[in-house]
């Protein structure tokens, strides 16, 4: 594994593991229960990913490099309306089953299907920002658009990435996202399901942000990525004549 970039932060060494790899023995706390399994006093990897075993804090973390999106309550997701019912929409959130959005939730008032058609408000193909309200094994996920920043998306572009790379786009305490936003002046809404809505001042910056997101996705498992993204945005800006050339 490359060592560059890991000097300044107190980053623990990360190792690339595959399913069935032994991570540690003893008493540890599993920080990512969906990717690590305890058998007896041993801890095994369940996916291909980057494992961090902290022997002082006694914690194990394994970030997958691939994987599906599986909804959990309170996730911010970006959905695309798939079909329209009488009192609800079916929304594709890249989960195994479509999410349900009730018209009364979206409109904030009761609806009478005899008087109005839901396609007047949200049509097939419309993009919405929503939160998962209820989800368990007995039902399809129910999403809500009530809340700050939620609702229909009217401007911008949607970028799709692998859902497991989402934490990398956000970064530690939002560091990567603030680099992307700060360097380009775009606004990002990052959905847990791997869809990102980007709103940019102009087309050039939008292209740069999309390329940068793609770069993060491709190099998510490498270290020192934030700095490289900063550099990447800068060179792209110069290349497009947005800055420099003075």
């Amino acid at each position: 594994m490359s060592e560059e970039g890991s000097k300044k932060r107190e980053e623990k060494p990360r190792t690339l593991v595959a399913p069935g790899d032994l991570l540690a023995r003893g008493e540890y706390k599993i920080l990512t229960p969906t990717t690590v399994q305890r058998r007896g006093d041993s801890y095994y990897a369940l996916v291909v990913g980057l494992a961090t075993v902290d022997d002082e804090a006694k914690t194990i973390k394994l970030i997958p490099l691939q994987g599906p999106y599986y909804p959990s309550v309170d996730d911010l997701v970006i959905g695309i309306v798939r079909s329209i019912g009488l009192t609800s929409w079916e929304v594709d959130i890249r989960a195994p089953s479509p999410a349900i959005l009730y018209a009364s939730d979206y409109l904030g008032r009761p609806v009478n299907p005899a008087r109005e058609s839901l396609s007047d408000y949200l049509d097939v193909g419309d993009v919405i920002i929503a939160k998962i309200q209820v989800f368990d094994r007995t039902r399809d996920p129910l999403i809500t658009t009530r809340g700050k920043g939620l609702g229909k998306v009217t401007t911008g572009a949607v970028v799709e990435i692998s859902p497991v790379k989402v934490p990398r786009v956000i970064g530690k305490k939002g560091s990567m996202q603030s680099v992307l936003e700060g360097e380009t002046g775009c606004r990002l809404v990052v959905g847990r399901n791997g869809r990102i809505v980007v709103n940019c001042p102009n087309k050039d910056l939008e292209e740069i942000v999309v390329l940068a997101i793609r770069k993060i996705e491709a190099e998510a498992h490498t270290t020192g990525l934030t700095d490289r993204i900063k550099e990447f945005i800068l060179t792209e800006k110069v290349r497009r004549g947005l800055i420099g050339g003075r």
Partner: protein, 244 residues
């Protein structure tokens, strides 16, 4: 596929096999993952002239809906041989043998896949044998397990498989078509090494108790080698990106 015609010599005077391998030697192995763009996970595995592509879709909405379970994902598997994979054209319709192998392969993978993490969904595995030269079921298990890992589906372990046979009275590892047709026994074994579990064990032909024990340990030794290649293949995909 039965042993027709005159029986060739399977073990030469120097103790080597008809293709020049030692009795405990595997065929040249090649593995690749992410070979299909549309699948969530995919793998290509080659054992000598046996070539198999596996594709994994899911976890996705179970179709038809009544097969879905509220407790776990349903694992489905289709093993299929391409019409051009054999000497004589194979009818593309699923045969009795293919239906059985689909079930056997599925059951070899079920113990390792964490299906309980994805209730009400299905995980579909499609296995296509492109070229058949013996050991297609074991190659298929190996490929399917790689494809599942490539799809990022949580698994307790990878499953690797290999067949042990008896040719001219000698136990041989990773038998090919000729050894299968004219040999005395064929025993495919699949195992999850770090889980320490055998997930598939079949035996066609006759082996004595001692031969069986010896054959099983020979198979597990081969599985250990295949397992190592599987892990390397999975990790290499990322090391390459990093090296750029």
């Amino acid at each position: 596929m039965g042993g027709k015609g005159e029986k060739p010599k399977l073990i030469m005077e120097d103790g080597k096999r008809h293709d020049g391998r030692l009795p405990d030697e595997l065929r040249p192995i090649k593995m690749e993952i992410g070979v299909l763009k549309n699948a969530d996970g995919s793998a290509y595995v080659e054992f000598g002239k046996t070539r198999v592509v596996a594709a994994v879709y899911g976890p996705r909405e179970a179709q038809p809906k009544h097969i879905a379970s509220p407790y776990r994902a349903v694992l489905r598997c289709r093993y299929h041989m391409a019409p051009f994979s054999t000497d004589e054209r194979k009818s593309p319709a699923p045969s009795r043998r293919e239906i059985e192998l689909s079930k056997v392969i599925r059951e070899a993978l079920e113990p390792v896949v964490m299906t309980e993490m994805f209730p009400r969904t299905s995980i579909d595995i499609f296995i296509e044998v492109i070229s058949a030269d013996g050991g297609t079921r074991t190659t298929s298990v190996t490929a399917a397990s790689l494809a599942l890992a490539d799809a990022g589906i949580p698994m307790k372990d990878l499953v690797a498989a290999v067949a042990v046979g008896k040719a001219d009275g000698v136990l041989v590892l990773d038998i090919d078509q000729v050894e299968d047709n004219y040999g005395e026994a064929d025993m495919p074994v699949a195992a999850a090494p770090s889980l320490n579990e055998i997930t598939l064990l079949q035996l066609n032909g006759v082996l004595s108790m001692n031969e069986f024990k010896e054959g099983l340990s020979l198979a597990l030794k081969g599985i250990g080698e295949i397992y190592k290649i599987q892990k390397e293949t999975l990790k290499n995909k990322y090391l390459q990106v990093e090296g750029e």
